[in-house]
C-alpha cells in the first residue's frame, strides 16, 4: 500500500508544481554520439520516468543523440555475448541496458554500456538510491553513461541557484531564491523577500549559499545553510556589500565593499571574519571570482575608463592586477574554465548588444558564444562544458544554456522572471 502511494505521488508530482521550469532543447551539436537506450527492466512506470530523465540529461549536453524508442531492436545474446551487428547497422555507437531493483526502502539501478564498434562491454555499474529520489538516481546514472563515453565528468547531478521574481496582482514584486536540479526540475525555495535578492553563489561543498539581499534597505551579503535554512549576515558593517564568491577551499569569501568611497575587492576569512583589501583604485572594482585552484581572482574594473576584466595573483605580495580583456569597450562578470585554460564573460559587441564570450589564455582574440540581445550573468558548469546565463525574451528574463560543443537550451519559467543563475560544484 505504501509503495503504491509512493508511485502515485511520484507520478502526480510534476503536474502539481506550477512554478516549475520547463526544459526546451533548441539546438544539437553536429557530431553526437549515437546511443540506443533500452528501457530498463523492472517496474515499467519507474523505467519510463527514469528513461526520459536520462535521455533529457544526455541530449541537453549536445553530445548525444538517442535512438527513437520505436526503432529499438530486441537484445540478442548468443553464447553470453551480445549480438552487435544489428546495432551497427542502425548506426549506433553505444548501447545502454539496465535493471531497476526495488525493495521497500531501496531503489537501485544496475546498468551496462556496450561499445558497438569495439564489440565489448565498457561499463557495468550499480547506483544505489532511495525510492522517492528517482530523479537523483537518474541523474547519477546519466552522469555515469556520459563519463564512460566521453571521458568527461557529467553534470546532470549538479544543481542550480537562481532568483525568481514574481509580480502579484498589484504588480508588487516578490523575490525568491530558488534551488533546482541541473535540468530545472525539483525546485526548492530557499528564501522569499519583498526586496531584491541578487548574486547567489555556491559554497564549494554545495551545502551553503551566499547571496546579496536588500532586505535591510542596503546591499548585504548573507550565508545560508541549505538543509537547515539558517542564515546570517557575513559582516555587520554599515556599508554596501555585494558580489560574494566562495574560494575553492571554502575558507574565504571574496566581496565588494563600498566603504572606501567606491567599490573595492576584499577577501573575508570566514573563520574569524578578518577582511583583507585587495584593490586600491579610484575606479570601481567588483564582480570577483576565484580560480579553480584558489590562487587567483578575476574581477571587473573601470580603471581603464571602461569595464574590463583583470586578474590578481594571490600568491604574490602586493599583487598587481593584470588586464585580460582588450576587445571592445565592455567586458565583465568573468569566471574561469575549470582547468584555467580560459575565461567566460559578458562582452558588448560592436553592435551594442551583450553576448557571452570565451577567451582562451593562449589566444589574443575572443569567441562570441551567444546571439541574443541582452545576455548576462554567465555561470560555468563544473566540468567546463556548459554555461548557464540570463537572457531577455521580449520583456521577460529567463535562463538559457549552451554547451561548448554547440548545443543550446532554454529554461523559461512558467511564472515570473528568472535571472542570476549559479551552477554548483560536483555534488556527492
Amino acid at each position: 500500500m505504501k509503495v503504491n502511494l509512493l508511485i502515485f505521488s511520484i507520478i502526480l508530482f510534476p503536474t502539481l508544481c506550477f512554478g516549475e521550469l520547463f526544459l526546451e532543447i533548441t539546438k544539437g551539436s553536429e557530431d553526437p554520439y549515437k546511443v540506443a537506450m533500452i528501457p530498463f527492466e523492472g517496474n515499467s512506470r519507474l523505467s519510463k520516468e527514469l528513461n526520459s530523465i536520462m535521455q533529457n540529461d544526455l541530449i541537453r549536453t549536445g553530445e548525444f543523440s538517442i535512438l527513437d524508442e520505436e526503432l529499438l531492436l530486441p537484445i540478442q545474446i548468443i553464447d553470453d555475448e551480445l549480438v552487435y551487428n544489428d546495432w551497427k547497422l542502425l548506426g549506433m555507437d553505444y548501447l545502454v541496458t539496465g535493471k531497476i531493483i526495488k525493495t521497500d526502502n531501496s531503489l537501485d539501478i544496475n546498468y551496462e554500456i556496450y561499445d558497438i564498434h569495439k564489440k565489448r562491454k565498457i561499463r557495468s555499474s550499480k547506483v544505489f538510491g532511495i525510492p522517492n529520489q528517482i530523479r537523483q538516481l537518474a541523474h547519477y546514472t546519466s552522469d555515469g553513461i556520459y563519463e564512460s563515453i566521453t571521458g568527461i565528468k557529467g553534470i546532470a547531478a549538479t544543481r542550480l541557484l537562481y532568483v525568481n521574481e514574481i509580480k502579484d496582482s498589484k504588480s508588487v514584486s516578490i523575490y525568491k531564491l530558488m534551488l533546482a536540479d541541473s535540468d530545472g526540475k525539483n525546485e526548492k525555495n530557499l528564501l522569499t523577500s519583498t526586496e531584491p535578492i541578487i548574486s547567489p553563489s555556491w559554497s564549494p561543498d554545495g551545502k551553503r549559499v551566499a547571496y546579496v539581499s536588500f532586505e535591510t534597505g542596503m546591499a548585504k551579503v548573507f550565508i545560508q545553510d541549505i538543509s537547515s535554512g539558517k542564515r546570517e549576515a557575513v559582516l555587520s558593517k554599515d556599508t554596501q556589500i555585494s558580489s560574494p564568491s566562495w574560494s575553492p577551499d571554502g575558507k574565504y569569501l571574496s566581496l565588494t565593499l563600498y566603504q572606501d568611497g567606491n567599490a573595492e575587492i576584499y577577501i573575508l576569512r570566514l573563520r574569524d571574519r578578518t577582511l583583507t583589501r585587495m584593490t586600491k583604485q579610484y575606479a570601481i572594482d567588483t564582480e570577483s571570482s576565484w580560480s579553480p585552484k584558489g590562487n587567483k581572482i578575476l574581477f571587473t574594473s573601470g580603471r581603464s575608463g571602461s569595464p574590463q576584466i583583470y586578474e590578481l595573483d594571490l600568491r604574490k605580495l602586493n599583487p598587481k592586477a593584470k588586464r585580460l580583456s582588450f576587445e571592445g569597450s565592455y567586458n565583465a562578470k568573468a569566471s574561469y574554465l575549470p582547468k584555467e585554460e580560459g575565461i567566460i564573460f559578458v562582452h558588448r559587441a560592436d553592435d551594442g548588444l551583450f553576448h557571452i564570450a570565451l577567451k582562451y589564455k593562449k589566444e589574443n582574440f575572443i569567441r562570441i558564444l551567444t546571439e541574443a540581445k541582452l545576455d548576462e550573468s554567465p555561470s560555468v558548469a563544473p566540468n567546463g562544458n556548459m554555461v548557464i546565463y540570463g537572457i531577455k525574451e521580449g520583456d521577460l528574463s529567463m535562463l538559457a544554456g549552451f554547451s561548448l560543443s554547440g548545443a543550446r537550451f532554454k529554461l523559461p519559467a512558467s511564472l515570473g522572471e528568472v535571472r542570476e543563475p549559479a551552477w554548483s560544484n560536483f555534488l556527492r
Binding site: 551539436s29 557530431d31 555507437d93 564498434h117 562544458n385
Partner: protein
C-alpha cells in the same frame, strides 16, 4: 663558484644554440617527402609513416654510383695518354660502370614508383579521415593529437591508440571518433601485399588543424 656557474650557463646556452642550428640544418637537408606528408586542405591532417626501411635501401645503391663516377675519369686520363690499345680496357671499364649506373637508376625508378604509390594511398587515407572528422567547436587553437592505427590487409582498422593527447578531451575524442567512423579503408585491397606489409600495417596520424 659564480664564475663556474656562469661558465656552465654559457656553455649550456651555446650547446642549445648549436644543437638547434644542427637540428634545423639536418632537418632541411633530409626533408624526405615519404617520411611526412603535410596536407593543407580545409581540415589539414598531417600523416606520418613509420618508414625505417626506405632509407636503408637507398644507401647501398648510392655508393656504387659514386664509385663508378669517381673511377672512370681517373682511368681515362691516365691511359689515354699512353696508348690506344690500353684505352680499350678503359672503354670496357666505362661500359661496365654505365651498366651499374643504369641498374641503380632502374632501382631508383622502382623506388620512385613505389613512392608514388605510397603517396597516392596516403592521400586516400587522409581524405577518408578528413571526410569523417568533425572538428569540435570552441576549442583553443594549436591543438595537435596523434593516433596510431593498426590495419588489416583488408583495410579494417583493428586498433587505434592515442599516442599524443592534445590536452583537450573533446579534441582527442573527435579524432578517435573520426577513425572509428571510417572503420575500414575500402581501397586497401588494391595495395600489393609487400607494400602493405612494409608501409600500411601501422600508421601514425596527426590531427593538426590550424
Amino acid at each position: 663558484m659564480i664564475v663556474n656557474q656562469r661558465y656552465l650557463e654559457a656553455s649550456v646556452f651555446s650547446f642549445c644554440i648549436h644543437a638547434a642550428i644542427f637540428l634545423y640544418l639536418y632537418g632541411s637537408f633530409n626533408s624526405d617527402l615519404s617520411k611526412s606528408i603535410l596536407i593543407s586542405k580545409p581540415l589539414q591532417i598531417e600523416l606520418k609513416f613509420d618508414l625505417p626501411k626506405k632509407t636503408k635501401k637507398q644507401i647501398p645503391s648510392l655508393p656504387e654510383i659514386n664509385k663508378a663516377k669517381i673511377n672512370e675519369p681517373k682511368k681515362e686520363l691516365i691511359y689515354s695518354k699512353i696508348s690506344d690499345t690500353i684505352s680499350d680496357s678503359s672503354k670496357n671499364l666505362l661500359i661496365e660502370s654505365s651498366i651499374s649506373e643504369l641498374l641503380s637508376e632502374e632501382s631508383e625508378i622502382e623506388i620512385s614508383k613505389e613512392q608514388k604509390e605510397i603517396s597516392m594511398y596516403a592521400q586516400q587515407i587522409i581524405s577518408t579521415i578528413e571526410n569523417a572528422w568533425i572538428k569540435p567547436k570552441n576549442i583553443p587553437q594549436g591543438l595537435v593529437a596523434n593516433l596510431r592505427l593498426i590495419i588489416r590487409p583488408s583495410g579494417r582498422i583493428i586498433k587505434v591508440d592515442l599516442i599524443k593527447s592534445s590536452g583537450n578531451i573533446r579534441f582527442d575524442n573527435s579524432a578517435l571518433q573520426a577513425v572509428r567512423r571510417v572503420e575500414t579503408f575500402n581501397f586497401f585491397n588494391s595495395i600489393s601485399k609487400s607494400l602493405f606489409e612494409k608501409e600500411f600495417q601501422k600508421i601514425s596520424i596527426s590531427f593538426n588543424p590550424s
